[in-house]
Amino acid sequence: MGRLRRCGALCGSATKLRHCLRWNFGAFRSFTEDSLVGMRDVPTSLQKWLPKIASGDAIGTLALFEGKGNPSPKAVKVTANGGVLNGVKRPVADGAIADFAVVAARTGSSGRESDISLFIVDLKAGGVEVKSLTNIDLTRGQAEIAFKDAKAEPLGAPGEGWSVITQVLDRAAVLMAFEQVGGADRALEMGRDYALDRIAFGRPIGSFQAVKHMLADMYVSATLARSNCYYGAWALSTNAGELPEAAAAARISATQAFQHCAKNNIQVHGGMGFTWEFDCHMYYRRANAVALGLGSLSYWEDALIDRMRKKNAA
């Protein structure tokens, strides 16, 4: 599937949470795959996985984080030595159902980005221990993966890991942003529908300005996010030099929009919005989990400002 079509599909499936096994894996798989397929020469370590990814027989994930904090080469402590990995990654999205992981590991100690290299690990092989973690989003699992002399094959050139990770995160940010916009739109639609249906004081609650204005503001943030995402999708599909800035803008805007719409959707629903039964909380959970999935808002805000500065200086 072309990248533009994939953006559309992610956005669309995110609007239908109820049918959404696909949504669970959609963005995450997309970005792992995107990063792999995006590599210049397909390394041999990857060749055996590609057909299985394509046929849906294998699920891949990216093992980057090691506890609290945002993406940073300094935070990578897992070591790679003599073809084996040691250390613990957490949280790893879809880690408990994944067949293999792309793992960022430390191969040097100079304090520079070039200390980080990428590896592929078969998660069903020896030396790998996977443990499910609980998280606020009940529809997308997170796991801890411990490596004890786990066999790992290098992915790409040694020392280039971090620059690949940065590109992967940018690409993933655009794809995820579409998922977020889809979620924001659906939360807005649910709120609107409920406001038309629910009667209080003898009239639909959607005729009260406080409710109308809340929904109008949700529309505004979802619209701004969608526009930023289109720009991001254009940059992604054309490999434009603007991608890093466009990706950060799409990510920030979509994160804010989804959080804003999901929380106000609960507000519009009143007590009903706080029930387990209604879907509102699923969107609220997903909005807030996905907001952290690729590094938190502050990470992306930092990235955007750095990138805008670089552009202004040029």
Binding site: H213, A216, Y219, S227, Y231, D302
Partner: protein
């Protein structure tokens, strides 16, 4: 959507760029680039005169109202070419402020509802800036509720005789013509008794009185009408159809305001990049970065939303209510940015004297001017109502005046 110029667009851009480089009034470039918000004042020159000279030159070169048909003073350019022109015109675009109401609202209304004679007589001069137009809609008792207006127009033979008062009329003091909405029948519900006209602002019985604004400037006015005679040939649309005609004006208002919207973000970015705080540059401070990033993505979101609208427009779609978001987002953002920029300056942020001015006092001016952005051309609350009702399909407000004939609607004075 494609964000790169096509070869034709690139060529158009390069022609525009060359023409601007050869013709723009460069002596004002510096001063213009430092004034934000589009509410500009030139230190030693009259803004309107400088603006007229630039507009005239543009008209001669075929760059004025370029999206209009050639026979009405335009260039027959596509909506995208118009955007390219606006990007290239850059800071000189600020000089178009006195013409924006004419070009953005009155012109399109005349184009949609005027006779062929009227279009050929008035539009080219409006486009070239030779004649400036203003919008005579709001009244003391009718702003958001503009359909509640009281100014009367009564038919006398082939003419109409107008009595009443308008208020907040931007640029009335330098305008040659005005687009006027008046009540022609007080015995029917309020939206049904209105008719649209245009008139010569020098007509006997028109009196323009300036009003000093909260920001200290004087751009809007009261306009009084005492037995002002308007020929029936200057009516736009049928008698009683004024409300529909006004919707053309207001729809275009949203579009034109959207096109050149100031957000304050580039100014703020530059300011933070240069401002030294105790611990280093403001732009290196995490709190500053976080705010800047949130504003930046709003500004880019608005930009690409307007591109989407333009691309819809070039496919022949009409500008819809969704375009209300531009002003709604940028008005409040300007106000927030100004407040935060001054906060970063500390106590001295309140100073406006020339010795004290940082960043040329532009944020202080932005602070004082930005409230108007949230009021003029539809208040924030009215825009939210529009989005809620016309985009999201929520019910309209409960109206106590809806089916009552105009002269039975309760008012403060009646």
């Amino acid at each position: 959507m494609n964000f790169d110029d096509t070869p034709q667009e690139a060529e158009f851009r390069s022609i525009a760029r060359k023409w601007i480089a050869a013709n723009a009034p460069k002596e004002f470039e510096e001063e213009l680039s430092k004034s934000s918000l589009g509410r500009i004042r030139l230190a030693r020159h009259d803004m309107v005169e400088v603006g007229k000279a630039w507009q005239k030159k543009k008209a001669e070169g075929g760059w004025a109202c370029l999206h209009w048909p050639k026979e009405y003073g335009g260039r027959g350019a596509t909506p995208i070419e118009r955007v390219i022109w606006q990007q290239e015109e850059g800071v000189y675009g600020k000089l178009t402020q006195p013409f924006q109401i004419g070009e953005g609202m009155c012109g399109p209304t005349v184009m949609a509802w005027g006779s062929e004679d009227a279009k050929r007589r008035f539009l080219p001069k409006l486009a070239s800036g030779e004649e400036i137009w203003c919008q005579l809609f709001s009244e003391p008792s009718a702003g958001s509720d503009v359909a509640g207006l009281r100014t009367r127009a009564e038919k006398k033979g082939d003419n109409w005789v107008v009595n009443g008062q308008k208020i907040w009329t931007s640029g009335a003091h330098y305008s040659d013509y005005g687009l006027l909405i008046a009540r022609t029948d007080p015995n029917v519900p309020k939206h049904k008794g209105l008719t649209m006209f245009f008139l010569d602002m020098k007509s006997p019985g028109v009196e323009v009185r300036p009003i000093k604004q909260a920001n200290g400037m004087q751009e809007f006015n009261e306009v009084y009408f005492t037995d002002v005679v308007i020929p029936d040939s200057q009516r736009l649309g049928a008698v009683g159809e004024g409300w529909s005609v006004s919707l053309t004006t207001l729809m275009n208002e949203r579009m034109s305001i959207g096109a050149r919207l100031a957000t304050g973000v580039p100014e703020m970015f530059e300011f933070c990049s240069g401002l030294m705080l105790e611990d280093g540059l403001a732009i290196d401070d995490p709190a500053v970065r976080s705010k800047l990033a949130s504003w930046a993505v709003k500004a880019s979101g608005l930009k690409y939303t307007s591109y989407r609208a333009i691309s819809a427009l070039s496919k022949g779609e009409r500008p819809g209510p969704e375009n209300s978001i531009g002003k709604l987002v940028s008005g409040l953002m300007l106000q927030d940015i100004a407040t935060y920029a001054m906060d970063l300056e500390g106590t001295a942020g309140s100073l406006t004297g020339t010795d004290e001015e940082q960043a040329n006092g532009q944020f202080q001016q932005m602070l004082l001017s930005s409230p108007s952005m949230r009021i003029a051309g539809g208040t924030d609350e009215i825009l939210r109502n529009i989005i809620a009702e016309r985009v999201l399909g929520l019910p309209g407000d409960i109206r106590v005046d809806k089916d009552v004939s105009y002269n039975k609607i309760p008012t403060k004075g009646r």
